[in-house]
Symmetry: none
Subunit: 211 residues, 4 copies
Amino acid sequence: MGEKMAFRARNPEQTRADILAAARVEFARLGLAGARVDTIADASGANKRMIYHYFGGKEQLFEAVIEEAYIGIRAGESELGLDEMAPTDALHALVVATWQYYLDNPEFITLVNSANLHQARHIAGNKQLRKLQKSYVERVAGILQRGEAQRKFRKGIDPVQLCITIAAIGFYYLTNRHTGGVLFGFNFMSRDALAKRLQFNLDTVMRLVLV
Amino acid sequence: MGEKMAFRARNPEQTRADILAAARVEFARLGLAGARVDTIADASGANKRMIYHYFGGKEQLFEAVIEEAYIGIRAGESELGLDEMAPTDALHALVVATWQYYLDNPEFITLVNSANLHQARHIAGNKQLRKLQKSYVERVAGILQRGEAQRKFRKGIDPVQLCITIAAIGFYYLTNRHTGGVLFGFNFMSRDALAKRLQFNLDTVMRLVLV
Amino acid sequence: MGEKMAFRARNPEQTRADILAAARVEFARLGLAGARVDTIADASGANKRMIYHYFGGKEQLFEAVIEEAYIGIRAGESELGLDEMAPTDALHALVVATWQYYLDNPEFITLVNSANLHQARHIAGNKQLRKLQKSYVERVAGILQRGEAQRKFRKGIDPVQLCITIAAIGFYYLTNRHTGGVLFGFNFMSRDALAKRLQFNLDTVMRLVLV
Amino acid sequence: MGEKMAFRARNPEQTRADILAAARVEFARLGLAGARVDTIADASGANKRMIYHYFGGKEQLFEAVIEEAYIGIRAGESELGLDEMAPTDALHALVVATWQYYLDNPEFITLVNSANLHQARHIAGNKQLRKLQKSYVERVAGILQRGEAQRKFRKGIDPVQLCITIAAIGFYYLTNRHTGGVLFGFNFMSRDALAKRLQFNLDTVMRLVLV
DNA sequence: AATGAATGAGAATTCATTCAT
DNA sequence: CATGAATGAATTCTCATTCAT
């Protein structure tokens, strides 16, 4: 009686990170409207009050999750060293890396879908993400220019459209894996199916750019 | 004016259809969890009770909406007369028609995303959709075979992967138009942007299949 | 199209009786609040509108059911010919008949409980039932008098209290058979258990009245 | 006045107990189906959300109420000190105490009826109640044995049947007091009527067991 | 007499958020 | 910084009853 319950480690950084991690999972699984603040609090090991303390509310927490997700994917790409590779190799590496990022971060695709369902208002005006994206497009543009200069790639390929297509052919396959499984009647996530898709996508991109 | 419209037309078919139409819009806009039964009832001109009477509940209504959406897109394709066209024309027409369907039915893409968020459990076991999809794939396979026989198309192109890619390059662009707009910094839905994207996609597909 | 649905037999008496029978079962199973007008309509083979037509509403239907139930049990007793039997035999027959009525009409006990939950307001002022009850008590009083005159029964036994006790020892056992089963740990409705209880009750009543 | 009682005492135990008490009254008055969660919330001074927090739902709250009711009656009996009394006195005390418990806890009888209406599923598998009941029966069996040993009581009286009968003759009178009042035409709850009934019941039980 | 579609009021349940400690 | 009890506003779902045919 009167016994004092042990508080969790008074570690603000950790608490914040734990909440964010739990929120990422929950929002990815159920979307913004379907996610439960209670569930996030429980899963994070913190409590509901902390969510409001650190993030202000459910929507702001969602914002933080989305931002973090986009920072994550762009960070990965900048570490590939694409600028040092031959153009063809760089493009190949980019397609593979994008695909692999989706596979390693299964929450990313549903988070992006949720962000779009809400018309991207949770990242509207986010300069940082705009900047990261810009440097990404420039990197791809650089690859195309080098390829073109070497007479390997066609002229006039729009780097933005290429970026979108590289994302599309992987992202769509994975985000629609459930309905795809039902409609097409095979397991989209089997090792074979995944390998086949990656190969097909590499083909698609290469045929698109090579002269 | 002042006239009391106590009861709506005693027309079960119409009532059901009105609810379904209102539900399609609401679910597309806010997802399964975000959609409000009340809003659907009001928008449909019917009342909440009718939703439960005709569909059983929110989830079953969602099921009906998703099923209807898939039936709609497949129905459009079967009316294109692809089998009567030259292979190249047929493929071109298919890419254009798919793209146009997405533009004409903006709800379709978010509904599909919602269905996938919930792991496709709302269409699991739906034989009809499986069948429709099958005949769609077969139609595409037919185009590929004819193209191959005419030495226009490469050999060994997987029709399933092609179907997925044709959908992906249009669908992804449109579903991600909001975050895309923020990140890339241009309006994905401007006339020019749309025309450019369609052209790029046609290019992508043609380069993929042509010898 | 324009095909006319077959109406059920235009037989008011039958329709009313069917509704009443279905209502008895439903009210007995779930009580007044738990019973569903829809269920009664479906089970009766009629439709909801008929319930309102014939009875006015759910509460009035309940009234009709309760009244019918009480008329039923009293009707049974008056047919036993108790007045023609020796007092001991008459009492014995009455205990057995009461018990048997409960067993044959399992709905009776829960209906009575429901009527009491609602403080008997559904039979308040019902002269007919009061009259039937009166003649029942008089019949029992007659038995006691004859028994007393023959020096078989004690003097001064209150017929009302006896009536209540005869009902109580059977009714309570049966109405509480479910909780009884859980708490005492045996099946109150097995052939053996029922026989044992009846014997015990006969004993109880006989010892109560015999000199 | 004008003072805002925004939050009630932060006392989980009390809150839970308040809800339980309010629920007991409401369920007793209207049954499981007739009871209103809103009413319970208001009457308890808590709010609806707390009911779901502490009990999970209406049905589970009902379970808790029923369990508490049964624990209550058994607790009372174990405090009577029956084992220290002469057999006849013990039996007398038990009949009186049972009767008095019903009178002091008017909710008990309708709760038991409700539990039985729902086929005792709310206490099915409740080991604690089974155990309490068992020790109760054993206590009664002990009285019978002592009485028998002292040649005061008949041999071979089934303690379970006796328990049931002791409950029945009081319980039935009280649960049926409303219909009884209408049918028999007197007030079952007048001081006189109650006294008379208790005396009759004592008589019934004593004649049943005495040699 | 009979039907079943339609309704509004209400009931159970859920949820993001705030308050006292 | 941390906790978890408490809350009000929604939200889904239900139900007795009425209306048009």
